[in-house]
Symmetry: C2
Subunit: 229 residues, 2 copies
Amino acid sequence: MQTIAPELAELAALIADPGRAGILSRLMDGRAQAASELARVAGVTPQTASWHLARLVERALLKVERRGPRRLYRLATPLVAQMLEGMMTVAAIDPQPSRPLPWIDAEMRRARTCYDHLAGELGVAVTDAMREHGHLHLDQEAGELTASGRAFLRDLGIDLRSPARSRRLLCRPCLDWSERRPHLAGRAGAAVADLALQRDWIRRRPQGRSVEITAAGLVAFRDLFGARI
Amino acid sequence: MQTIAPELAELAALIADPGRAGILSRLMDGRAQAASELARVAGVTPQTASWHLARLVERALLKVERRGPRRLYRLATPLVAQMLEGMMTVAAIDPQPSRPLPWIDAEMRRARTCYDHLAGELGVAVTDAMREHGHLHLDQEAGELTASGRAFLRDLGIDLRSPARSRRLLCRPCLDWSERRPHLAGRAGAAVADLALQRDWIRRRPQGRSVEITAAGLVAFRDLFGARI
DNA sequence: GCAACGCTTCGATCATGATCGAAATGTTCA
DNA sequence: TGAACATTTCGATCATGATCGAAGCGTTGC
């Protein structure tokens, strides 16, 4: 039975090193980072990080662009982010009753971006609020934006039309590994996160992929979305 | 930045061994298999397979049930299957221009089950046909069953109502790693696969997770679904 | 109870790959 | 052109874990 198992193992081996896992995790916000920053989060020397990065690029998990004397690395495709989402979900479950759950950084748990959409308590609260207001149907597997939801996002100034065809799919669930419940992803989720950044409801923290909810953001998420946050 | 990276690496390390990857791949059809069968597909001795299986169970990727003198292993949750789907998708891409694509077993490419739904050429053909008949909207991220699609499945004898609430989500895409295009998954996909097995349109092959399309199945998929297969 | 069978545990061996110091490469700016 | 800086390459060392033979355990059936 010739199958894909060898490639699967090879891919997994690439993620199996704590340094490389840290690098990939750091890049899950979709932005590009310099090699030195990635060496820092991986907790290794620059030369070791360079070795790791070369392997990740070679296997096309990352792509690199030169910006002056530094090299910026980012996830090669959204597919890689989606794969990592799925792995983190399983990694966070680990329902070994005896073993205590890993303590997760409070800022990460509170609010972060997951590639292009909101995650953490914030992401789940916004999703729950939209669901309660009838803007959204969502379960672990699938999601659907209602007419009410389309109108709601339109009123917020989000244009969901795109150069694609008229009938479009906007909404998918993404299982939040820290909250263990689904939050809004897909085009609609990305649009909400974009809006929040543009209106300064959230700000990216200089390091890590957690975000800070501004005072204006707290008001907006509560009043506009009805989120309990 | 305390994050989930160490757990991610640990999880990946578990999949990074070719033997364990083969075992997990073999179990992707959702059924339980005996340790000896899994040793065979992994290409290792029974004692080595036992060691691998113990690690996978300990980390809750698999669960085991004793059936007489033998032990049957299966994926612990659908979440594990979904994670492996995502990894296989990335593993199959590997767009290194120089390296030739792995040759994929013809039977696997033709038709197989992906946990609970159809995959391979068959899965994609059925999905495409449903899409062309307006039963389905599907892109890489999200999916939606139309009213026409609900009626179509109802006429086939598929009852999509479940003990859950009335407005339900049935449909998600699953990126087919051999065809590199999305096929139908979620509750609707599982229902179609169930139907095909019940009506003997497909038969599970004794070993491996590829399935055989019967003569009746070929007719059914072509005439009932309009699939080009 | 005993034999047959499936599976697991133990112990020793062996290979792979992660690491960092040192040095080289490449880019920018003066 | 030369200095400063980011990153990569090279080489040697070291730790982890995959493997299988041999032996042990547990279940079934006679």
